[in-house]
Amino acid sequence: MAQVSPLPGAGPGDARHHPAAGEGSDPAQPIHRLVYRSTSAILGTEEQVAAEVAAIVAAARRNNLATGLTGVLVYSGESFTQVLEGPLAALEATYDRISADLRHRQFDLLQFTRAPARSFGNWELAYLTQDALDAFWQDGAMPGGDPTDAANRVLERLTEILRPQPAATG
């Protein structure tokens, strides 16, 4: 089974018990979701790249917690795949920042739609790296072809990987 790899000092455990967790079931607050894929444009040594990605995740978690967004970021060492969900205004504002970020390129927005509910309500941003990814890609979640299909495959796989499993994470 896939492992959720904690960042040094900022494990996904910290991201649990998200205050927005209940929001997904609040019918008054419609939820939107976006899925995109991009290629990392971060240059430098392995440590420098790791530090930059850690900074991205830290800033993202801080912002997402504040604006009530939840989601997951997958980093393969080469590409990013991200799912973000939450109220439209916050999601759009965050998308504006992410889509203006030069730290990635070949930006491919697979989906931006209304969603019936949050799929990652427990995470302001779960973070998955290589370990988890082997399973992720092998299972055919590699985006490609029709964007909607790709987005759905990503979602399916990620929800499966991140399904709460007491033994899997610390």
Binding site: L34, Y95, S99, L109
Partner: protein
Amino acid sequence: MLQRIYLCLAEQHDPWLVALAALICAVGTSTTFVLLRVAQLDQRRRRGWAALTALATGIGAWATHFVAMLAFAPGVAAGYEVGLTLASLALVVLVCGIAFQLGLQGGHARQLLAGALVGLGITAMHYTGMAAYQLAGNLLWDRPLLGLSVTLGILLPMLAVWIGLQHPRRLARTAAAGLLLLGICALHFLGMAAAIILPSAEIAPPAAPATPGWLGAAIGAVTGLLLLLGLAASALARREHRQERQAEDRLRSLADATVEGLLLCAEDRIIVSNRSLQELLGREDAWFAGQTLEALLPPGGVLPPGLAAEGRAETEFLAASGEAIPVELVTRPLATQARPHRVVAVRDLRDRRRAEARIRFLAHHDPLTELPNRTGFAEELGRALAVHGRTGQPFALLALDLDRFKMVNDALGHAVGDALLVKVAARLRAAVRATDLVGRLGGDEFALLQFAPGQPEAATAMAERCIELLSRPFVVQGQVLNIGVSIGIALCPADGVDPATLSRNADLALYRAKSEGRGTHRFFEAEMDTRMQRRRMLEVELRTAVAMRQFHLLYQPLLALDSDAVIGFEALIRWSHPERGLISPAEFIPLAEETGLIVQIGEWVLREACREAASWQQPAIIAVNLSPVQVRSPGIVEAVRSACAAAGLDPRRLELEITESVLLTDTDETFRTLQALKALGARISMDDFGTGYSSLSYLRRFPFDKIKIDRSFVTDLAEDAESAAIVGAVIGLGKSLGMVTTVEGVETAGQLAHVRARGCDQVQGYLIGRPMPAEQVQRLMDDKEAA
């Protein structure tokens, strides 16, 4: 000497009377300064007050003198000469009167001189009095003591009067009175100590010595008068003080109610401030009192020179918070005060400055994106060129034009369009460095200034960054929008060193980028310039051509293979330029399409062709080409209808030829238009089939009446088996879809035989007939009739 003084005071004077003398002197001197203050304030009756002051001073000093003389026991018989005694009083009063008149006119020099005069008057009074003193003995003088007595007798009053006139406060007034008291006492007692009396039997005792009774009465009266004067003066002073207070209170509540800050200054010292100013600067009133105006300025500030006793100037005041607040100061002198006073009004300029800054900002910026607008950007470009002129620093000018923005704006409305522009601006800001500049020139036009060495690589990287960033989808109000950007780049100094040339060259490069596929960037090249100029000239000429009717039509025959008869003609436009002769449609049609002139030209072609065809004896087909721009133009259906109606042509004789590119932007709108044209009765042909994106799905989506196979397939029909196969296949396809097939460009009998064998319906080409003028067609038609 000290011993002499001591002996004189201790042994020759009665202490009780000395004390009385000092008391009289104290009453006199304090009365002097109270009255002097009143004289200062009451300008209208100044002379009277000055005279009264002189009277009080003189009487005080004189009475002091005589009581002290009474306390003196010289050890010999003594008396006073009445005339001289009274003269001494008159003298001191007169001199003091002159002195106070002088001193009240203000100014340090006059005030000091007045003081000296007062001292002189008192000294003169004392020694005149001494001259009136008659003794049974010789009077000798100890000179040093005498000198000291006179010096102090002049200097101390001088100082006292100066202080009293300078400082109106009570404390200063008391000090001045004390000094004057000291001066009079020093004069008197040092003078007495200086007197050496040698008793002599030769000198007779005074003939008519003033009796102590007479003296006592005189002194009592005088002292009483003095006391009265003093009381009256202090009552006056108190009343004046109260009035001053009330006036001040009224003034203060008025001042506090004013919105503007106010300061009252005496010379350059602040006396009071109002509440508005205290609030503005965040300080207590007490802080202001005694400060100079300079103390309100930020460190190192100087008061503007325009701010004298009366004037207006702008400066900055430092608030307690450390904020430098821009203020306007208006100064007015206050006439009612004895010393030069002025009121300084302090107006807070922050709001005005903010408004000015906003106005300046709006003049140079686009309020939507807050980027510099055309004016602001032009200014920056000018600045960049000036810097280049001085330092040789190169820079790049990038002209940006959004792709597909107009579509979004038209389809989704201005609100979405505006929100999109704001997001575009944000991404552009993310794409440039802090030293670069982004501007919005208007609509969907943006521009960048890049200050970087290493051109053209740096500009290339920047352009690619912008293209990459703007090609990412935008999300506006939950809708995903895809636009893009085309970029033209001009480099300074290579492509120009003045704003007009640089901008024009960047625009030319942008034009190139757009015509070569959009979503890309191009650098300016000199050749663009010449081509552009040619194009511009052609455009002007084309407009005249429309107006001057320099166009005419030629007609190329169309042969039906089943009957081997000419069954129609295709109308072809020609432009005969008055100087340049015939201009090929290949040269001017694209330009006409770009400029939209094609709509006008195409309409003329329709009308002319219909009119011509209607005049033929035979009901032959007339084929007219429609450009994609025409098909998309809103009036096309009506134009066709009215051309037929005006000519009296049966629309069923009209064939409209369109190319595949019409269908490229295959909106439903295009199909609706084609449907409507067909509903009029006209037939629709697909022209140049096989050259474009030839999608067979077009044939499925719209029921064309005819397919015209492009001439390029016919040319190598004999040698190229592939072409032959394609032609055969298309003919077969047309047959199965119920469409007529025409082959264009048939030039040899061999080609004709080939396509005939394949079952083609119609042919066109030089073998059948070249495009011919209308008269020839008329003749051909007449011949046919005859045949």
